[in-house]
Symmetry: D2
Subunit: 292 residues, 4 copies
């Protein structure tokens, strides 16, 4: 099996890379904070000292980074990928970033004879560890075909959104917005129940086994019902960035999204009160604490 | 099997009463518009000319009406139930009404030696027809025990929320608010996708088979994705009344609910534009039409 | 000059009654907490032990009470006004209440040959003390003519909104909503400025001497700029009741009012955090504290 | 008197430049659409074929452009000002732009020995024509002193917000947000009144001569009361850009601004329905038309 480059070993990236090793892929890995490379190396990955070293001509490099700026630095920085993927190389970009950045990077790789596939993922770190991510992808057909087995080693399902490299990113952003909306909705409903003498847990049990018997309501709902927000899956600061990308995309395409505004404001409020590093589902506490 | 009184044969009530007949119960039925009684009579029900005639001392009467005022008229009106249920009678109140009305009616029946059980339902008319309703109930333990088999003939699951007769109503209201929130969220997400070149259906297919693989997102989501809002399940006018009960309960218990406000405003806007008799899921059109 | 009955000697009522005494009117006064009568008695008013005692057949009775329920008790309670005003009496109702209550009371008085004039006021207690209130009125033309001199002794301007006894109440409610909106707007703008290194006071100074050189922005704006919310003019609890009347009127007339919702939610949040007795302008603190 | 450069002769700029001519200044003028230069030339201004030609070393150049991008092009474009103002030149930047752009341009001019003063204005085209603008300014003290007489020829009042070149822009953005909030508030209040049988004009007359007796409520309020939105002062498209700058500044400084979101969404909705070129006060129509 071929050697794949993997850049970005945070909570999500480390779990995803581990699954690639388990599936038999060889990996060259890079992370800005070098210590995070160690567990992967212990499992057989080769550590790279600089981003560009994970790439080989015509190969595949996966990026799983915090935001657009980090990805730009990995590609265009002094020690970045630049054109190292060359002819037929594939940049498999799995971070949650803006559609604009995806389109720009796709153009960059195209100019060097390579390909860019956007493939952001849904799932928290435990789903990543269990290879149970849902993966949405978009980009050129041939490159998508090539990376399919790689993606299948990390996820339980793939959804193809066509050739526009920005499309998968928009789907990912829309999905996060839907999750944030569900959190706000449950926070309001459970708090209304509680203030009227009904147990949060009893309401959660009912709705999450009937009308809303699905992962988002079951998993986030459990946190909101029990008011336990640890361990941290994704931070308020991280997801607020996603909500800004949602809103900027909405601005550009003239879609008023008052519910997305509400979720964004909840996250801003959490960060303003020093909870930026807590799980973003804590936005439910804004409701519990009687905030307007 | 005993004879049960059933008052209110709208889209939901007619389907529920039919299932009771199928289960072997004998029914005395009443509806304000008398023609709606006919299909039930054709299946063996006995038609009553006035509400009070459906009751017999110590028996069970089910009410399934549009709102608090209709229920008050049925109980306290000149030809109403009044104290006809007498000692040990049970008023099984399945309408979506306010917790205050339930508590007031419970007190009324208690004073005449009877019982009141609130048992509102979740499910659209097709679910009612299939005896697949989810039923939430609250009230005195003994009376709840007695009506269990009756409820099981109409639903696929019961959830008990204790003795407060208002509790089940609050759960029902909270549930409708959660559905409204999901409709708004999907409307915003699908419209964002569409305005960016992604098919509404493709996004719906992805989210409703993964993160949101549950009845509300699947069924309402299909309407929102395909933009087909017929046949009408529950009208905008009907559900807006529920949202007002949600907000009034929230006011009393000091819970700011901005998302419930948003859903309520969407429904108000639909009605103001002459769409009060359309399915309430049409609130999604407010987003599609670019309204703020 | 004739003797006028005056019921309700809170912050506002006491100041208004004092101005009537200064203008030469004789007053019979009643207040539920009897001590509040004393300063007025010291200035020549006659204390009544029960509400009905302030009325004389064909006379004028002014009511200035906290809410609809208090007014109902004063009129319909065991010791209430009932029909004591008789033929040609005028109930001059200056409280901030719902249009429905005004219409109901107007009907009650009409049935006894009397008249009802709604005349709610704009202005905080210091404006009341200075006889600088703005008064909006509605009701039957003749009765409005008769009470004009009485109103002029308390205010600096009258605005007539026709014959519907509910009209003046709606104008009052709309006015309070406009003030609440201005508070929220200034809170957001001043906080944005402050978080960007610009003094709240400097921004306030600019806007309140130019674009917004008017009492609401000058007076409430000073509180919001300086973050000093004392002395208390009107409490959060009091004005939240007004916002609920705004929203209920909006519901009935199918007007979505998201900004009124926002103001209402801010007040609810203040009360939920124990600040119900503070000045309602403290809703600005929700913004300052970074709440969403 | 010295010769001043003036770039940008839209509705506002043309009126401002005319006042400078009236005050005795000589002007070199540039506009991208050259025909707009003609009325100024007829009054004595000298037409420049390219932006850089309006500048002379050590002189003053005023810019009054649509947005940040247009200003960037005027300064940094191939035929732009670049460093033509040289030692002691002053760029007097009167457009409504982001604080970031002001800070960046200030740094640019400082590096060439020049100065940058931000001086955005409040007032619609008729106020500009009457030299009745309110001008807020920030930048280095000496340069502000030098441009004072120039600014006084265009406005009726100056407000100094210190040395940060971005401060005046933030004040301008905050001011526009306050105006937008007032429009939304009036739209909701007047519509509530109208739907309850009270004339929009009567309510407007009352509030704009008492509590809200100030230019914004008088002038915008007249449009909203009479539902006449012509002639166009500032378009929805133009001001929506300002609201985006407000929100981006709010995001950066962690201030949730739900009322600013609401105003922004209203404008987005107008543009989505093809009214981007209409006056932005038409956002009031969203309320009138029963939108949520």
């Amino acid at each position: 099996m071929e050697t794949i480059g993997f850049i970005g070993l945070g909570r999500m990236g480390a779990a995803m890379a581990t699954n690639l090793l388990k599936a038999g892929y060889r990996l060259r890995v890079y992370n800005r904070t070098p210590q995070k490379v160690e567990p992967l190396v212990a499992q057989g990955a080769i550590a790279a000292a600089h981003p560009f070293e994970v790439a080989e001509p015509g190969g595949i490099v996966i990026t799983m980074l915090t935001n657009d700026a980090a990805l730009d630095e990995i590609v265009f920085g002094a020690e970045g990928l630049q054109d190292r993927l060359g002819e037929n190389g594939v940049h498999l970009s799995m971070s949650t970033i803006s559609p604009q950045t995806s389109r720009r990077l796709a153009e960059h790789h195209r100019q060097h004879g390579g390909h860019y596939v956007a493939a952001p993922v849904f799932g928290r770190p435990d789903a990543a560890a269990a290879a149970k991510l849902w993966i949405v992808l978009s980009g050129p057909a041939e490159a998508k075909m090539r990376v399919q087995p790689v993606l299948r080693a990390m996820g339980q399902g793939l959804f193809d959104f066509g050739e526009d490299p920005g499309a998968a990113n928009i789907v990912k952003l829309a999905g996060n917005m839907l999750i944030g909306a569900a959190i706000e909705a449950m926070a309001e409903a459970y708090t209304l129940a509680e203030k009227n003498g009904i147990s949060r847990e009893a309401l959660h049990e009912m709705i999450s086994t009937t009308l809303f018997a699905c992962p988002v309501y079951q998993n986030y709902g459990r946190m909101i019902a029990h008011q336990t927000y640890e361990p941290v899956g994704a931070t308020a600061t991280l997801i607020r960035k996603d909500m800004e990308l949602v809103l900027q995309t909405a601005w550009t395409s003239l879609v008023p999204m008052p519910l997305a505004d509400l979720v964004h404001n909840r996250l801003t409020a959490r960060i303003a009160r020093g909870r930026g590093d807590a799980d973003w589902a804590e936005l439910a506490l804004e409701v519990v604490e009687g905030r307007s």
